[in-house]
């Protein structure tokens, strides 16, 4: 069991002055897993990922990443990790092929030309290899970044919001590729804000204000929240949503297009709260909460904790 755990860290903490950006996070990721990393802006996802590959010095924490000590052996970790930064961080004044060649050289990849060539082929960048990285559109930049991450055959990929600003088709292709690579034994830790991507992950972790609020498979995360959700449809949902939010027992009332998800942790009080609204022209039905309901619930709670 332990020998196929790729990331196994405990108590990872990072402070920036008075702000604790990452607060004692424990995380286990198994080999071949696609692990989703979620949380609102500023929750510490990027900071945590940076600590894993030695880009930020942790203030506290211990454990292993790829069987190396996460605090002391970051040089060895770097060699086997592909890190894709949130912000595009390749040389805009170099062409695609030059960027890839540079990365390959930095990792000391043997048979560099072949490796560069292969990664260009694999990602379908062939026609564009001479184009300057700075001239690429967002989606192509992401592809270049992924190609560069893979060039040294890493065992673990840390991808920080790899699909931000990428069109739906490209995102689908991207995820297909990720699952294919995971099938070959690569491990992924991917941060994202997209729910559909979260659902594609084998397991998830949800962060808020530097705290790990929940982790597990999507089903486990949903079950763990012990949320009851009702779905309402009908006209002028905004009006009843506003009224519902003030009622005891209603944790949240969130509009999803022309539907309203009303959730709370106490099933009975929630049902009492919505009872007056169960009239024409509204139709109500109880549903299984989705990941998004759960995350909104978690976010709401953690804010309260934080402000208290």
């Amino acid at each position: 069991m332990t020998d196929n755990v790729v990331i196994d860290v405990r108590g990872m903490t990072k402070r920036f002055g008075a702000l604790t950006a990452v607060n004692g996070i424990d995380l286990q990721v198994r080999q071949g897993e696609v692990y989703g990393f979620l949380g609102p802006n500023g929750s510490g996802k990027t900071t945590f990922i940076r600590m894993l590959c030695g880009l930020l010095a942790a203030d506290a924490g211990e454990g292993t990443c790829l069987d190396f000590d996460v605090i002391r052996e970051s040089e060895s970790i770097k060699r086997q990790v592909g890190y894709m930064t949130q912000r595009f961080s390749f040389y805009e004044d170099l062409s695609i092929i030059e960027n890839l060649d540079f990365v390959a050289r930095m990792y000391g990849v043997s048979n560099r030309r072949a490796a560069v060539h292969e990664s260009i082929e694999r990602l379908g960048l062939a026609g564009r290899q001479k184009q300057l990285a700075g001239e690429l559109s967002g989606g192509w930049k992401q592809r270049l970044a992924l190609a560069a991450c893979l060039i040294h055959n890493p065992r673990l990929l840390l991808l920080d919001e790899p699909t931000a600003g990428v069109d739906p088709k490209a995102r689908r292709d991207f995820w297909e590729q990720i699952h294919e690579l995971a099938g070959q034994g690569l491990t992924f830790l991917i941060s994202t804000h997209y729910m559909d991507e979260a659902e594609r992950c084998d397991r998830l972790a949800y962060l808020s204000y530097g705290n790990l609020l929940t982790s597990g498979t999507a089903a486990e995360v949903i079950a763990g929240a012990q949320l009851t959700t009702w779905l309402a449809s009908g006209p002028n949902l905004q009006v009843i949503a506003r009224q519902l939010r003030t009622k005891p027992g209603v944790g949240q009332a969130v509009a999803f297009g022309a539907r309203l998800h009303v959730s709370g942790t106490e099933a009975l009080r929630l049902e009492q709260a919505i009872a007056p609204f169960r009239t024409e022209p509204y139709s109500w039905q109880q549903i299984n909460p989705g990941l998004e309901d759960v995350f909104i619930h978690l976010m709401g709670n953690s804010k309260d904790n934080y402000q208290a």
């Binding site: 880009l55 890190y83 961080s89």
Partner: protein
């Protein structure tokens, strides 16, 4: 601006430094120039001559030499500015009324360093013997003085200032551009975000820094070549020494400046700071190296600072090679100081290079 203390420091610092440099350090009329004597006749009259020179503010006796060869080396290495030769049988010739010749050789690579001193010589020496040649010897003073004075302005006999400035310009241009080029290297990576990527790869600080330095040595060579060509064909600067040797030295000098720049770049938080640091380095280099004003005209503290700067040594080397025809033995005396500078500065850079983003 409150957040950026360095900028604030610069705003105060630059006028202060300028005031110090222009107000105190710079002197267009250098005095107390190091002088060596080759005294072949140690009679009373010879000594009178020397003490007259000594009493003037211009000459400062630092050494006694024993032969011509020593004199030649001292001048070539730039250890002394003047060599005064009092010939054998000086007193005897003097007393016989033969008007003996005193030879003063000057290192005139920088004409402005020696000009005033040479101009003062004639009156100085005429009056030197007035005290000795009184009474019965009074006739020797004659109408055109008791002695002959020969001044050899060595290396640049016509006193053409371009011969001094144009080679020096090569050093100045290289200092300015090379420090600036690498000064932005690391801060640019930080600002563009590429640093995060670079740091996530298994690279060593020295590797990264050298990787930033080495390609620019060739850029420096292009500049050096340009200036050398202009020196040769537009300004007809003599090229007495070996050009390959000069190019070898230039590569060391270019590397030293690139190292300085890269170190600034590891110290600076942003590009503006890097530019400010570059300027802060360039200003004393320009003023205290002996490029704009004679090195020996400066007070001791300014000379100490000047000795630390690679440009100071490079100027001595390039002028030495081109004008004096110096070879490797003379060059190495200055070159090691440039090497030392580069090593120290690069070590600081490697130490300060942050391997993490915080």
């Amino acid at each position: 601006m409150r957040r950026d203390r360095l900028t604030f420091g610069m705003i105060i610092g630059i006028p202060v430094v300028q005031l110090m440099l222009f107000g105190y350090a710079i002197n267009g009329d250098p005095k107390h120039l190091p002088t060596a004597v080759l005294l072949a006749d140690s009679s009373q009259y010879g000594r009178s001559m020397l003490s007259a020179l000594k009493n003037s503010d211009y000459f400062h006796f630092v050494r006694k030499l024993h032969n011509e060869a020593e004199a030649e080396t001292a001048l070539a290495r730039g250890e002394v500015q003047f060599i005064v030769t009092i010939p054998e049988n000086f007193s005897r010739s003097l007393l016989r009324g033969d008007k003996p010749t005193i030879l003063i050789e000057a290192d005139a690579t920088d004409p402005s360093a020696t000009g005033n001193a040479i101009a003062s010589l004639r009156t100085l020496l005429a009056s030197a013997l007035q005290h000795d040649l009184k009474g019965p010897l009074g006739f020797l003073a004659g109408s055109d003085g008791p002695i002959n004075l020969r001044v050899h302005a060595r290396y640049n006999p016509e006193g053409i200032s371009q011969y001094n400035i144009v080679p020096g310009l090569m050093g100045v241009v290289l200092t300015m551009t090379m420090v600036m080029i690498t000064g932005l290297a690391i801060t640019r990576e930080r600002e563009r975000g590429t640093m995060e990527n670079l740091l996530s790869m298994p690279t060593r600080p020295l590797e990264v820094l050298l990787g930033k330095i080495i390609p620019y040595i060739f850029v420096g060579y292009i500049q050096a070549g340009l200036i050398l060509t202009a020196a040769r064909f537009l300004f007809h600067v003599p090229m007495a020494g070996s050009i390959p040797l000069l190019l070898l030295v230039a590569s060391v000098f270019i590397a030293a400046n690139l190292a300085m720049g890269i170190t600034f770049s590891t110290l600076a938080k942003n590009q503006l700071q890097a530019v400010q640091m570059t300027f802060f380095f360039f200003l004393p280099s320009l003023l205290l190296s002996g490029f704009m004003f004679p090195f020996r005209g400066m007070p001791d503290w300014a000379q100490v600072i000047g000795e630390l700067l690679p440009l100071t040594h490079f100027l001595r080397i390039i002028r030495g090679i081109l004008l004096k025809g110096n070879g490797f033995e003379e060059v190495i005396l200055q070159l090691w100081q440039i090497v030392l500078f580069a090593v120290v500065v690069l070590t600081i850079g490697v130490k300060r290079y942050r391997k993490t983003l915080d």
